[in-house]
Symmetry: C2
Subunit: 216 residues, 2 copies
Amino acid sequence: MSVGTHPTFENSPSGTVLTSPPDGSAVDRATDAARRVVDALLRTDRGNANLERVAEELNSIAGHLEEHAPAVAERLIDMWNGEGVTRHDPVTGPENALAPPVVLEGLSDGSVRGTVTLTIPYQGPPGHVHGGVSALLLDHVLGVANAWGGKAGMTAQLSTRYHRPTPLFEPLTLTGKLMSVDGRKITTAGDIRTADGQVCVSVEGLFVDKTVPRPR
Amino acid sequence: MSVGTHPTFENSPSGTVLTSPPDGSAVDRATDAARRVVDALLRTDRGNANLERVAEELNSIAGHLEEHAPAVAERLIDMWNGEGVTRHDPVTGPENALAPPVVLEGLSDGSVRGTVTLTIPYQGPPGHVHGGVSALLLDHVLGVANAWGGKAGMTAQLSTRYHRPTPLFEPLTLTGKLMSVDGRKITTAGDIRTADGQVCVSVEGLFVDKTVPRPR
Protein backbone atom coordinates (compact mmCIF):
# COMPACT_ATOMS: atom_id res chain seq x y z
CA MET A 1 0.00 0.00 0.00
CA SER A 2 1.21 3.49 -0.72
CA VAL A 3 0.76 5.58 2.41
CA GLY A 4 -0.69 8.57 0.62
CA THR A 5 -0.55 11.66 2.76
CA HIS A 6 1.88 10.28 5.37
CA PRO A 7 5.21 12.10 5.56
CA THR A 8 8.04 10.39 3.69
CA PHE A 9 11.71 11.28 3.29
CA GLU A 10 10.93 12.39 -0.23
CA ASN A 11 8.18 14.86 0.68
CA SER A 12 9.18 16.03 4.19
CA PRO A 13 12.20 17.71 5.81
CA SER A 14 14.84 15.86 7.79
CA GLY A 15 13.87 15.87 11.45
CA THR A 16 10.14 15.43 10.82
CA VAL A 17 8.62 13.89 13.96
CA LEU A 18 6.80 10.73 12.87
CA THR A 19 5.13 9.75 16.12
CA SER A 20 2.82 11.68 18.46
CA PRO A 21 4.91 13.07 21.31
CA PRO A 22 3.10 13.68 24.62
CA ASP A 23 1.30 17.02 24.12
CA GLY A 24 0.39 17.99 27.66
CA SER A 25 -3.28 17.06 27.19
CA ALA A 26 -5.10 15.65 30.20
CA VAL A 27 -5.08 12.11 28.80
CA ASP A 28 -1.33 12.31 28.15
CA ARG A 29 -0.67 13.63 31.64
CA ALA A 30 -2.86 10.93 33.20
CA THR A 31 -1.05 8.26 31.16
CA ASP A 32 2.33 9.64 32.15
CA ALA A 33 1.24 9.48 35.79
CA ALA A 34 0.15 5.85 35.23
CA ARG A 35 3.69 5.14 33.94
CA ARG A 36 5.09 6.56 37.16
CA VAL A 37 2.75 4.27 39.14
CA VAL A 38 3.80 1.18 37.13
CA ASP A 39 7.49 1.96 37.72
CA ALA A 40 7.06 2.87 41.39
CA LEU A 41 5.04 -0.29 42.12
CA LEU A 42 8.10 -2.34 41.16
CA ARG A 43 10.38 -0.20 43.32
CA THR A 44 8.43 0.61 46.45
CA ASP A 45 8.83 -1.05 49.85
CA ARG A 46 6.72 -4.23 49.78
CA GLY A 47 5.98 -4.14 53.49
CA ASN A 48 5.70 -0.48 54.31
CA ALA A 49 3.90 1.39 51.50
CA ASN A 50 0.31 0.60 52.50
CA LEU A 51 -0.28 -1.30 49.27
CA GLU A 52 -3.76 -2.44 50.36
CA ARG A 53 -4.83 1.20 50.27
CA VAL A 54 -3.00 1.79 46.97
CA ALA A 55 -4.88 -1.16 45.45
CA GLU A 56 -8.20 0.34 46.61
CA GLU A 57 -7.38 3.77 45.21
CA LEU A 58 -6.21 2.41 41.85
CA ASN A 59 -9.31 0.23 41.56
CA SER A 60 -11.45 3.26 42.34
CA ILE A 61 -9.74 5.27 39.56
CA ALA A 62 -10.09 2.33 37.15
CA GLY A 63 -13.78 2.03 38.03
CA HIS A 64 -14.31 5.73 37.30
CA LEU A 65 -12.53 5.48 33.93
CA GLU A 66 -14.45 2.34 32.99
CA GLU A 67 -17.78 3.99 33.87
CA HIS A 68 -16.94 6.66 31.30
CA ALA A 69 -15.76 4.24 28.62
CA PRO A 70 -17.88 3.55 25.53
CA ALA A 71 -18.28 -0.03 24.26
CA VAL A 72 -14.95 -1.40 23.00
CA ALA A 73 -16.15 -1.74 19.38
CA GLU A 74 -17.20 1.93 19.40
CA ARG A 75 -13.95 2.98 21.06
CA LEU A 76 -11.88 1.15 18.42
CA ILE A 77 -13.59 3.12 15.66
CA ASP A 78 -12.68 6.46 17.28
CA MET A 79 -9.18 5.27 18.01
CA TRP A 80 -8.52 4.54 14.35
CA ASN A 81 -10.26 7.60 12.96
CA GLY A 82 -8.78 10.96 13.68
CA GLU A 83 -7.09 10.51 17.04
CA GLY A 84 -3.80 9.71 15.31
CA VAL A 85 -2.54 6.19 14.71
CA THR A 86 0.56 6.62 16.88
CA ARG A 87 -1.33 7.73 20.02
CA HIS A 88 -2.27 4.26 21.31
CA ASP A 89 0.39 1.72 20.43
CA PRO A 90 2.59 0.08 23.10
CA VAL A 91 5.84 1.63 21.80
CA THR A 92 5.23 5.26 20.81
CA GLY A 93 1.72 5.92 22.13
CA PRO A 94 1.53 8.77 24.66
CA GLU A 95 -1.93 7.43 25.64
CA ASN A 96 -0.59 3.92 26.32
CA ALA A 97 1.17 3.52 29.67
CA LEU A 98 2.95 0.40 28.40
CA ALA A 99 4.86 2.63 25.94
CA PRO A 100 8.01 4.41 27.26
CA PRO A 101 6.90 6.27 24.91
CA VAL A 102 9.47 6.41 22.08
CA VAL A 103 9.53 9.52 19.85
CA LEU A 104 10.82 8.88 16.33
CA GLU A 105 11.95 11.34 13.70
CA GLY A 106 12.68 10.83 10.02
CA LEU A 107 16.07 11.76 8.57
CA SER A 108 16.92 12.78 5.01
CA ASP A 109 18.82 9.53 4.35
CA GLY A 110 15.53 7.64 4.70
CA SER A 111 16.22 6.37 8.21
CA VAL A 112 14.19 6.98 11.36
CA ARG A 113 15.72 7.56 14.77
CA GLY A 114 14.73 7.94 18.41
CA THR A 115 16.27 7.90 21.86
CA VAL A 116 14.84 6.13 24.88
CA THR A 117 15.94 5.34 28.42
CA LEU A 118 14.28 2.23 29.83
CA THR A 119 13.64 1.48 33.48
CA ILE A 120 12.72 -1.48 35.71
CA PRO A 121 9.37 -2.41 34.08
CA TYR A 122 11.34 -3.30 30.92
CA GLN A 123 13.89 -5.48 32.72
CA GLY A 124 14.87 -8.98 31.60
CA PRO A 125 18.31 -10.02 32.87
CA PRO A 126 19.42 -8.16 36.03
CA GLY A 127 19.86 -4.46 35.23
CA HIS A 128 19.30 -5.02 31.51
CA VAL A 129 16.51 -4.72 28.97
CA HIS A 130 14.33 -7.79 28.35
CA GLY A 131 15.30 -9.28 24.98
CA GLY A 132 11.65 -9.41 23.98
CA VAL A 133 11.22 -5.72 24.77
CA SER A 134 14.08 -4.94 22.37
CA ALA A 135 12.27 -6.97 19.70
CA LEU A 136 9.02 -5.10 20.44
CA LEU A 137 10.68 -1.69 20.11
CA LEU A 138 12.54 -2.62 16.93
CA ASP A 139 9.50 -4.18 15.25
CA HIS A 140 7.71 -0.89 15.74
CA VAL A 141 10.67 1.22 14.61
CA LEU A 142 10.82 -0.81 11.38
CA GLY A 143 7.12 -0.17 10.75
CA VAL A 144 7.65 3.58 11.12
CA ALA A 145 10.75 3.34 8.88
CA ASN A 146 8.61 1.69 6.21
CA ALA A 147 6.12 4.55 6.28
CA TRP A 148 8.96 7.15 6.13
CA GLY A 149 10.26 5.20 3.13
CA GLY A 150 6.84 5.51 1.48
CA LYS A 151 5.57 1.98 2.15
CA ALA A 152 3.37 0.21 4.68
CA GLY A 153 2.93 -3.42 5.42
CA MET A 154 2.40 -6.19 7.93
CA THR A 155 5.37 -7.91 9.57
CA ALA A 156 5.95 -11.30 7.92
CA GLN A 157 9.27 -12.15 9.53
CA LEU A 158 11.51 -10.51 12.10
CA SER A 159 15.08 -11.68 12.73
CA THR A 160 16.57 -10.24 15.88
CA ARG A 161 20.23 -10.66 16.89
CA TYR A 162 21.50 -9.92 20.35
CA HIS A 163 25.11 -8.71 20.35
CA ARG A 164 25.49 -7.67 24.00
CA PRO A 165 23.16 -7.08 26.95
CA THR A 166 21.21 -3.82 26.53
CA PRO A 167 21.51 -1.59 29.62
CA LEU A 168 18.61 -0.09 31.57
CA PHE A 169 18.90 3.51 32.88
CA GLU A 170 21.03 4.75 29.92
CA PRO A 171 19.96 6.54 26.75
CA LEU A 172 19.61 4.09 23.86
CA THR A 173 19.37 5.08 20.22
CA LEU A 174 16.89 3.19 18.06
CA THR A 175 17.22 3.37 14.28
CA GLY A 176 15.48 1.78 11.32
CA LYS A 177 15.61 2.10 7.57
CA LEU A 178 13.78 0.61 4.62
CA MET A 179 16.53 -1.21 2.68
CA SER A 180 14.81 -2.66 -0.37
CA VAL A 181 11.48 -3.36 -2.06
CA ASP A 182 10.93 -6.44 -4.20
CA GLY A 183 7.36 -6.56 -5.51
CA ARG A 184 5.16 -6.78 -2.39
CA LYS A 185 8.13 -7.65 -0.14
CA ILE A 186 9.76 -4.90 1.89
CA THR A 187 13.06 -5.47 3.72
CA THR A 188 13.86 -3.13 6.59
CA ALA A 189 16.74 -3.10 9.09
CA GLY A 190 17.41 -1.44 12.42
CA ASP A 191 19.33 -1.57 15.66
CA ILE A 192 19.60 -0.44 19.26
CA ARG A 193 22.86 1.24 20.32
CA THR A 194 24.27 2.63 23.51
CA ALA A 195 25.24 6.32 23.72
CA ASP A 196 28.82 5.41 22.76
CA GLY A 197 27.64 3.64 19.63
CA GLN A 198 27.87 -0.01 20.61
CA VAL A 199 25.26 -2.15 18.88
CA CYS A 200 23.29 -4.16 21.44
CA VAL A 201 20.55 -5.58 19.22
CA SER A 202 20.11 -5.57 15.46
CA VAL A 203 17.10 -6.61 13.47
CA GLU A 204 16.03 -7.35 9.94
CA GLY A 205 12.38 -7.45 9.04
CA LEU A 206 10.47 -8.71 6.05
CA PHE A 207 7.15 -6.98 5.55
CA VAL A 208 4.38 -7.66 3.08
CA ASP A 209 2.34 -4.99 1.43
CA LYS A 210 -1.07 -5.56 3.07
CA THR A 211 -2.95 -4.15 6.03
CA VAL A 212 -5.71 -5.08 8.45
CA PRO A 213 -8.80 -2.96 7.66
CA ARG A 214 -9.70 -0.21 10.12
CA PRO A 215 -12.87 -0.75 12.17
CA ARG A 216 -15.86 1.34 11.13
CA MET B 1 24.62 -23.13 32.90
CA SER B 2 22.69 -25.93 34.57
CA VAL B 3 19.78 -24.45 36.47
CA GLY B 4 20.33 -26.54 39.60
CA THR B 5 17.26 -26.56 41.78
CA HIS B 6 14.83 -25.18 39.17
CA PRO B 7 12.04 -27.55 38.19
CA THR B 8 12.65 -29.46 34.95
CA PHE B 9 10.53 -31.95 33.03
CA GLU B 10 12.85 -34.68 34.31
CA ASN B 11 12.48 -33.90 38.01
CA SER B 12 8.96 -32.41 38.24
CA PRO B 13 5.40 -33.54 37.40
CA SER B 14 3.54 -32.47 34.28
CA GLY B 15 1.52 -29.35 35.04
CA THR B 16 4.16 -27.78 37.30
CA VAL B 17 3.55 -24.03 37.31
CA LEU B 18 6.81 -22.37 36.27
CA THR B 19 5.93 -18.73 36.79
CA SER B 20 4.58 -16.87 39.82
CA PRO B 21 0.82 -16.52 39.43
CA PRO B 22 -0.79 -13.54 41.19
CA ASP B 23 -1.13 -14.64 44.84
CA GLY B 24 -3.58 -12.12 46.26
CA SER B 25 -0.84 -10.22 48.11
CA ALA B 26 -1.25 -6.45 48.41
CA VAL B 27 1.43 -5.74 45.82
CA ASP B 28 -0.20 -8.14 43.36
CA ARG B 29 -3.61 -6.58 43.92
CA ALA B 30 -2.21 -3.07 43.52
CA THR B 31 -0.45 -4.11 40.30
CA ASP B 32 -3.60 -5.72 38.98
CA ALA B 33 -5.46 -2.48 39.70
CA ALA B 34 -2.73 -0.58 37.81
CA ARG B 35 -3.36 -2.88 34.83
CA ARG B 36 -7.05 -1.94 34.97
CA VAL B 37 -6.04 1.74 34.96
CA VAL B 38 -3.71 1.29 31.97
CA ASP B 39 -6.45 -0.46 29.99
CA ALA B 40 -9.21 1.95 31.04
CA LEU B 41 -7.10 5.02 30.16
CA LEU B 42 -7.07 3.81 26.54
CA ARG B 43 -10.82 3.22 26.56
CA THR B 44 -12.36 6.02 28.56
CA ASP B 45 -14.10 9.10 27.16
CA ARG B 46 -11.37 11.64 26.31
CA GLY B 47 -13.59 14.63 26.97
CA ASN B 48 -15.78 13.55 29.84
CA ALA B 49 -13.81 11.51 32.35
CA ASN B 50 -12.21 14.39 34.28
CA LEU B 51 -8.73 13.27 33.26
CA GLU B 52 -7.07 16.31 34.87
CA ARG B 53 -8.24 14.99 38.24
CA VAL B 54 -7.21 11.42 37.33
CA ALA B 55 -3.71 12.69 36.47
CA GLU B 56 -3.47 14.41 39.86
CA GLU B 57 -4.62 11.32 41.74
CA LEU B 58 -2.25 9.01 39.88
CA ASN B 59 0.67 11.37 40.45
CA SER B 60 -0.22 11.49 44.12
CA ILE B 61 -0.18 7.67 44.34
CA ALA B 62 3.11 7.54 42.40
CA GLY B 63 4.62 10.12 44.76
CA HIS B 64 3.58 8.05 47.76
CA LEU B 65 5.07 4.86 46.29
CA GLU B 66 8.29 6.66 45.34
CA GLU B 67 8.66 8.10 48.85
CA HIS B 68 8.68 4.54 50.16
CA ALA B 69 11.09 3.21 47.51
CA PRO B 70 14.67 2.36 48.40
CA ALA B 71 17.52 3.38 46.08
CA VAL B 72 17.29 1.52 42.76
CA ALA B 73 20.60 -0.34 43.27
CA GLU B 74 19.36 -1.62 46.63
CA ARG B 75 15.95 -2.51 45.19
CA LEU B 76 17.57 -4.55 42.38
CA ILE B 77 19.43 -6.66 44.92
CA ASP B 78 16.20 -7.57 46.76
CA MET B 79 14.41 -8.17 43.49
CA TRP B 80 16.96 -10.78 42.43
CA ASN B 81 17.34 -12.44 45.82
CA GLY B 82 14.42 -14.27 47.26
CA GLU B 83 11.42 -12.47 45.80
CA GLY B 84 11.26 -14.94 42.92
CA VAL B 85 12.70 -14.28 39.48
CA THR B 86 9.36 -14.44 37.70
CA ARG B 87 7.64 -11.78 39.87
CA HIS B 88 8.94 -8.67 38.04
CA ASP B 89 9.39 -9.35 34.35
CA PRO B 90 7.17 -7.73 31.70
CA VAL B 91 5.58 -11.00 30.54
CA THR B 92 4.82 -13.21 33.57
CA GLY B 93 5.45 -10.84 36.49
CA PRO B 94 2.41 -10.33 38.74
CA GLU B 95 4.22 -7.27 40.19
CA ASN B 96 4.76 -5.73 36.75
CA ALA B 97 1.70 -3.95 35.31
CA LEU B 98 3.16 -4.22 31.80
CA ALA B 99 2.76 -8.02 32.04
CA PRO B 100 -0.69 -9.47 31.14
CA PRO B 101 0.61 -11.54 33.22
CA VAL B 102 1.12 -14.90 31.50
CA VAL B 103 1.12 -18.07 33.65
CA LEU B 104 3.17 -20.93 32.21
CA GLU B 105 3.19 -24.58 33.16
CA GLY B 106 5.59 -27.36 32.20
CA LEU B 107 4.34 -30.52 30.51
CA SER B 108 5.84 -34.00 30.58
CA ASP B 109 6.89 -33.82 26.91
CA GLY B 110 9.31 -31.02 27.81
CA SER B 111 7.14 -28.20 26.49
CA VAL B 112 5.74 -25.23 28.40
CA ARG B 113 2.30 -23.79 27.83
CA GLY B 114 0.13 -20.88 28.89
CA THR B 115 -3.06 -19.11 27.87
CA VAL B 116 -3.53 -15.37 27.64
CA THR B 117 -6.18 -12.96 26.39
CA LEU B 118 -4.74 -9.61 25.31
CA THR B 119 -6.58 -6.30 25.31
CA ILE B 120 -6.17 -2.79 23.86
CA PRO B 121 -2.82 -1.88 25.45
CA TYR B 122 -1.24 -4.68 23.38
CA GLN B 123 -2.78 -3.56 20.09
CA GLY B 124 -0.81 -3.14 16.86
CA PRO B 125 -3.02 -3.38 13.74
CA PRO B 126 -6.70 -2.56 14.37
CA GLY B 127 -8.18 -5.16 16.74
CA HIS B 128 -5.04 -7.30 16.65
CA VAL B 129 -1.96 -7.94 18.74
CA HIS B 130 1.13 -5.80 18.02
CA GLY B 131 3.70 -7.98 16.20
CA GLY B 132 6.38 -6.84 18.61
CA VAL B 133 4.26 -7.88 21.58
CA SER B 134 4.02 -11.39 20.12
CA ALA B 135 7.83 -11.43 19.84
CA LEU B 136 8.13 -10.23 23.45
CA LEU B 137 5.80 -12.94 24.76
CA LEU B 138 7.47 -15.70 22.74
CA ASP B 139 11.01 -14.67 23.67
CA HIS B 140 10.01 -15.04 27.29
CA VAL B 141 8.19 -18.34 26.75
CA LEU B 142 11.34 -19.76 25.12
CA GLY B 143 13.43 -18.72 28.11
CA VAL B 144 11.05 -20.54 30.46
CA ALA B 145 11.07 -23.56 28.10
CA ASN B 146 14.87 -23.65 28.32
CA ALA B 147 14.73 -23.77 32.12
CA TRP B 148 12.07 -26.54 32.02
CA GLY B 149 14.42 -28.38 29.66
CA GLY B 150 17.23 -28.05 32.21
CA LYS B 151 19.15 -25.22 30.56
CA ALA B 152 19.44 -21.44 30.86
CA GLY B 153 20.94 -18.92 28.54
CA MET B 154 20.83 -15.50 26.97
CA THR B 155 18.95 -14.93 23.71
CA ALA B 156 21.44 -14.74 20.82
CA GLN B 157 18.97 -14.78 17.96
CA LEU B 158 15.21 -14.83 17.64
CA SER B 159 13.44 -15.53 14.34
CA THR B 160 9.77 -14.70 14.42
CA ARG B 161 7.34 -15.55 11.62
CA TYR B 162 3.90 -14.03 11.34
CA HIS B 163 1.39 -16.39 9.74
CA ARG B 164 -1.83 -14.44 10.28
CA PRO B 165 -2.94 -11.46 12.39
CA THR B 166 -3.20 -12.43 16.08
CA PRO B 167 -6.58 -11.42 17.56
CA LEU B 168 -7.14 -9.34 20.68
CA PHE B 169 -9.95 -10.29 23.12
CA GLU B 170 -9.63 -14.07 22.46
CA PRO B 171 -7.75 -16.72 24.42
CA LEU B 172 -4.38 -17.43 22.84
CA THR B 173 -2.21 -20.42 23.65
CA LEU B 174 1.53 -19.86 23.95
CA THR B 175 3.88 -22.83 23.77
CA GLY B 176 7.63 -23.33 23.77
CA LYS B 177 10.00 -26.28 23.83
CA LEU B 178 13.74 -26.77 23.95
CA MET B 179 14.50 -28.62 20.70
CA SER B 180 18.26 -29.29 20.75
CA VAL B 181 21.53 -28.53 22.52
CA ASP B 182 24.82 -28.30 20.63
CA GLY B 183 27.67 -27.42 22.96
CA ARG B 184 26.80 -24.00 24.40
CA LYS B 185 24.07 -23.40 21.79
CA ILE B 186 20.46 -24.08 22.68
CA THR B 187 17.71 -24.11 20.04
CA THR B 188 14.16 -23.56 21.22
CA ALA B 189 10.89 -23.18 19.31
CA GLY B 190 7.43 -21.90 20.12
CA ASP B 191 4.22 -20.45 18.79
CA ILE B 192 1.03 -18.53 19.48
CA ARG B 193 -2.25 -20.18 18.46
CA THR B 194 -5.89 -19.25 18.57
CA ALA B 195 -8.35 -21.39 20.57
CA ASP B 196 -9.15 -23.38 17.42
CA GLY B 197 -5.48 -24.20 16.88
CA GLN B 198 -4.51 -21.81 14.10
CA VAL B 199 -0.87 -20.75 14.32
CA CYS B 200 -0.62 -16.94 14.28
CA VAL B 201 3.07 -16.52 15.10
CA SER B 202 5.91 -19.01 15.33
CA VAL B 203 9.38 -18.47 16.63
CA GLU B 204 12.76 -20.15 16.76
CA GLY B 205 15.36 -18.94 19.20
CA LEU B 206 19.07 -19.57 19.52
CA PHE B 207 20.34 -19.15 23.07
CA VAL B 208 23.86 -19.27 24.44
CA ASP B 209 24.77 -20.76 27.75
CA LYS B 210 25.72 -17.64 29.73
CA THR B 211 23.97 -15.26 32.11
CA VAL B 212 24.20 -11.69 33.39
CA PRO B 213 25.36 -11.81 37.04
CA ARG B 214 22.81 -10.91 39.69
CA PRO B 215 23.35 -7.63 41.54
CA ARG B 216 24.65 -7.95 45.09
